[in-house]
């Protein structure tokens, strides 16, 4: 176990016991994932996709179910896709030369090698006696047959023993993969050479190979087999089309493909140009959407994660709220404001109930009071509830700052007796983290301001947009508007291609989450772009609210991306006019 209970570990590198101990069952939120059927699991980096896959692997399931290997509910095979494992630039050479065939061979051999690697580790680490496997001769003979049909020319020296040794099978697949890679490297700078090695496809090689594994008896006869493909955004466009083609095959009775992406999946087209669609071909889960639209679900998950870790690492039986206390002074003052709102409700009430007004105005009024007072006091973002809200539906965004807070406490020499993280440490670290979140992508952007709209890159425009919206949301928070806790925008007009590109980049970086909302005309739904709450501390927003949004003209937001100062000037003017009678959800800014 590590010293820091909140340290983020790569699921791939965690032992089955550790993964099992740390995992919080999230499948009630994502019920499609462990069920048979092809599934896409989308979510930004750090949202828990790989951990879900890790938990679904047989070694964890063996611990969880305390069953025999052939009694598992499903049998998962894990294939991680790293950045340039498969998506290599030299494949461009294949554009007019068996592009799909060779790419599919690369995918199939890569997948098969990883599957055998997993099985080899599973047997070794779980003391599974492979001499008990059934039908070894039958499996070996079928495996050799598949290799023969693939055109493998190196079969004479390939012998399989009486016992199954997955490491030998893995080496064989590694070797077939590397032969093809070697061919691609050889043609990089030369004319096309004839390809004379094996060619493996999904339907002729990988699918039957996975089915044949059942013959060995360690996978239950009716047990569904899942192929867990992690970070499929790292595949090339051609490879993505090939994977989609596999999804289009109705193989779910035998093998289901579970694909995780970081919201950058390149296409849903297959190699013949047709589309795969949900729910016809696959089901789809977006972790960010589920957790940003259901605050309670996410809150409960984080409570479970934190309390599990406090118990496991620190042997502490305390609540997450106790470990991450709020700033008491601040909460007292907010309570006083709440009482005032309650007692004035009958005269000055704006919402449906006094409680509703307290929720809407107490915290924003306190933030406004601090700003007006100019005493140097700042709003504190401490407290478990706020930290969960700030983490914006992404588990890593809670764990990483929590890990830094705990690290700070350790550096203060209190490692042996940490029973809580003081609110000052929480506040300091979450402010730092919020600021880093923006500067990770936009480090030192706009140190020089000599840009013209024409020279702005998409990321420059995104940086402008984030700042413009962050400042606008802050202005609304401290205004006289009736709804002040605004975090989202929707458009009343059609956004241009250029603006959509900026917004898409923002979504892929995790600065915005997408959702939908009934449009102003009531004739359908519009896309809602929700600013990540992780930016809340940076822009001094009230992060405890998920509710507020503004409809705004796309043309105005376009101006915000290229002329942020001009946007800011007009925006402040309009917001200063907002009062009790304005249309709650419409913000008109004339430029």
């Amino acid at each position: 176990m590590l010293n820091n209970p909140f340290a983020v570990q790569t699921p791939e590198d965690i032992s089955a016991e550790n993964a099992h101990d740390l995992f919080v069952d999230v499948f009630s939120d994502f019920h499609q994932v462990p069920k048979p059927g092809h599934t896409f699991l989308h979510g930004p980096r750090g949202s828990g996709k790989s951990m879900m896959f890790r938990y679904m692997l047989p070694d964890c399931q063996l611990i969880d179910l305390k069953s025999k290997i052939n009694e598992l509910n499903y049998f998962s095979l894990y294939v991680p896709i790293k950045k340039t494992d498969l998506n290599i630039i030299d494949l461009q050479k294949l554009e007019n030369h068996a592009e799909y065939v060779l790419n599919e061979h690369l995918l199939v051999t890569y997948f098969a090698a990883n599957i055998f690697e997993d099985l080899s580790k599973l047997v070794d680490l779980n003391n599974i006696d492979s001499s008990n496997f059934k039908n070894v001769d039958k499996f070996n003979s079928k495996f050799k047959q598949l290799l023969t049909f693939s055109g493998d020319k190196d079969l004479e020296n390939f012998t399989l023993g009486e016992k199954i040794d997955f490491a030998i099978l893995k080496d064989k697949m590694n070797s077939l993969h590397r032969s093809a890679r070697n061919y691609i490297n050889r043609i990089s700078f030369n004319t096309i050479l004839p390809y004379e090695d094996a060619l493996c496809s999904y339907l002729d090689f990988l699918f039957p190979l996975i089915q044949n594994l059942r013959d060995l008896g360690f996978i239950g006869e009716t047990c569904p087999i899942y192929l867990l493909i992690d970070d499929a955004d790292n595949l090339s466009l051609t490879q993505t089309k090939i994977l989609n083609t596999w999804v289009s095959f109705r193989t779910t009775a035998h093998v289901s493909i579970k694909i995780s992406t970081q919201l950058n999946y390149k296409t849903y087209r297959t190699v013949n140009g047709s589309r795969i669609d949900s729910p016809h071909d696959y089901s789809e889960v977006n972790i960010a959407t589920i957790y940003t639209s259901s605050k309670d679900k996410f809150y409960k998950r984080i409570v479970d994660i934190v309390e599990k870790r406090l118990k496991l690492y620190l042997d502490l039986d305390i609540s997450a709220k106790e470990f991450f206390p709020s700033n008491n002074e601040q909460e007292k003052r907010i309570n006083i404001i709440s009482e005032e709102i309650r007692s004035n409700y009958s005269d000055k009430g704006k919402g449906a109930s006094a409680a509703d007004d307290v929720k809407r105005y107490a915290r924003p009024d306190y933030i406004k009071y601090l700003k007006m007072k100019k005493s140097g006091s700042t709003y504190s973002y401490s407290g478990f509830l706020q930290l969960v809200s700030i983490s914006s539906g992404i588990i890593r965004y809670f764990l990483e700052p929590a890990s830094k807070m705990y690290g700070e406490m350790m550096s203060l020499g209190t490692a042996n007796d940490i029973k809580e993280i003081p609110h000052t440490v929480q506040h300091e670290k979450i402010i730092e983290y919020s600021s880093e979140f923006l500067t990770t992508e936009f480090d030192k952007v706009f140190k020089n301001e000599d840009h013209t709209p024409e020279t702005l890159s998409t990321s420059d425009k995104l940086y402008n947009l984030i700042n413009a919206l962050g400042e606008m949301f802050h202005e609304i928070l401290v205004s006289n508007a009736s709804e002040r806790r605004v975090f989202s925008i929707a458009f009343t007009s059609r956004p241009s291609t250029s603006l959509l590109k900026v917004l898409d980049l923002g979504v892929s970086y995790g600065y915005f989450h997408e959702s939908t909302i009934g449009n102003k005309k009531g004739s359908g739904r519009s896309k809602l772009y929700i600013l990540s709450r992780l930016l809340g501390p940076y822009f001094k927003l009230d992060t405890t609210s998920f509710a507020g949004y503004k409809f705004i003209k796309a043309e105005v937001i376009e101006i915000a991306t290229i002329k942020p100062k001009e946007f800011g000037k007009h925006m402040k003017k309009e917001i200063s006019k907002l009062g009790e009678n304005e249309d709650d959800h419409q913000l008109k800014i004339d430029l």
């Binding site: 790293k82 630039i89 050479k93 691609i184 700078f189 992508e441």
Partner: protein
């Protein structure tokens, strides 16, 4: 592979050029003024001059191309691509093969890599030093490099210095994609420079099982202040990284020394790891990485493209020229 490594001051290098027998000179345009330093010393006797120029380039680069054309009227342009290295390669190979030389004896080519972008340095090294391209036996290769006196030269403090912002894409380098074993773990060897964000992005994108993080060595730094700034960035990245990490220092003056270190480290870990190398320091260390890549075909070199460069104040040329003869 490198037979000679020489260092000159600009006037000495001018004399060297006048007395040399260069048959073909290759350089690159850039938004950096440095792209003109060596070309403007070129004697008339060097008949064949080719300049690499990006399709859809910055206006400053276009201006520098015009200046070069005025200085060297015999100069021809080879168009290269920012985001299509394969097309760049085809253009380079086609144009280099079509230069009419009087006889078939081995020619001397001198490449000024001062402002050639890293990806094209790798391509040029592959073209001239890998046998499969057919040019290795036709040319004796020399490479020269005019180092920078200062980077981000309008910034008064290190904290406001910047060379690039945003990372557009991280890709393997054409010809250096390596040959990975699908089931091995990944080691990333990263030679840090002045670009924090670019380095962080490379690490996050690869999520390596082992990170080998390098900084410029004190003894082989171009300038002491460069080394200090680089070391501060190295420390920052080191703190940011959550991956199992080891550190090393490399030479910014000797490509051979950088290559030798990388070769030795690769030998130690290649049995257990697929290896990716990313170079973010100067062009001499980049040259060392390219040479290492040639000798280690299983190793991958990667290149992170950026969203924007500090085109106005990127660098100022120094008085020093490094020459590497192969």
């Amino acid at each position: 592979m490198i037979k000679k490594h020489l260092e000159y001051k600009l006037p000495e290098f001018d004399s060297f050029l006048s007395n040399s027998n260069v048959d073909l000179f290759i350089c690159s345009t850039s938004f950096e003024e440095r792209c003109l330093t060596i070309p403007q010393m070129l004697p008339d006797k060097i008949k064949n001059v080719r300049v690499l120029h990006f399709n859809k380039s910055y206006s400053l680069s276009n201006d520098n191309l015009d200046k070069m054309k005025n200085l060297i009227p015999r100069l021809s342009t080879i168009t290269i691509e920012k985001n299509n290295p394969y097309l760049s390669f085809i253009n380079l190979l086609t144009q280099l093969n079509s230069i009419p030389f009087e006889n078939s004896c081995k020619r001397n080519v001198l490449i000024d890599i001062s402002t050639v972008n890293r990806e094209h340095i790798y391509l040029l090294i592959h073209i001239f030093l890998n046998e499969i391209n057919g040019l290795k036996d036709k040319f004796n290769l020399s490479i020269c490099y005019n180092s920078a006196k200062e980077y981000s030269y309008n910034s008064l403090t290190n904290s406001t210095k910047w060379l690039s912002k945003g990372v557009r894409e991280i890709r393997s380098v054409l010809g250096f994609s390596g040959n990975f074993v699908p089931t091995k773990k990944l080691a990333l060897i990263l030679l840090t420079g002045f670009e924090t964000q670019r380095a962080k992005k490379v690490i996050l994108n690869f999520s390596p099982n082992k990170l080998i993080l390098g900084h410029a060595s004190k003894e082989d730094a171009i300038e002491e202040s460069f080394q200090e700034y680089n070391f501060s960035i190295f420390k920052h990245i080191n703190e940011f990284s959550n991956y199992p990490m080891e550190q090393f220092s490399f030479s910014c003056k000797s490509a051979q020394s950088t290559k030798d270190f990388l070769n030795a480290r690769i030998k130690e870990i290649e049995l257990n790891y697929n290896i990716v190398i990313a170079g973010l320091n100067n062009k001499i260390s980049t040259l060392g990485i390219a040479l290492c890549g040639l000798e280690n075909p299983n190793v991958q070199i990667c290149y992170p493209t950026v969203n924007q460069y500090n085109v106005d104040y990127y660098s100022l040329p120094s008085e020093d020229v490094f020459l590497f003869q192969f």
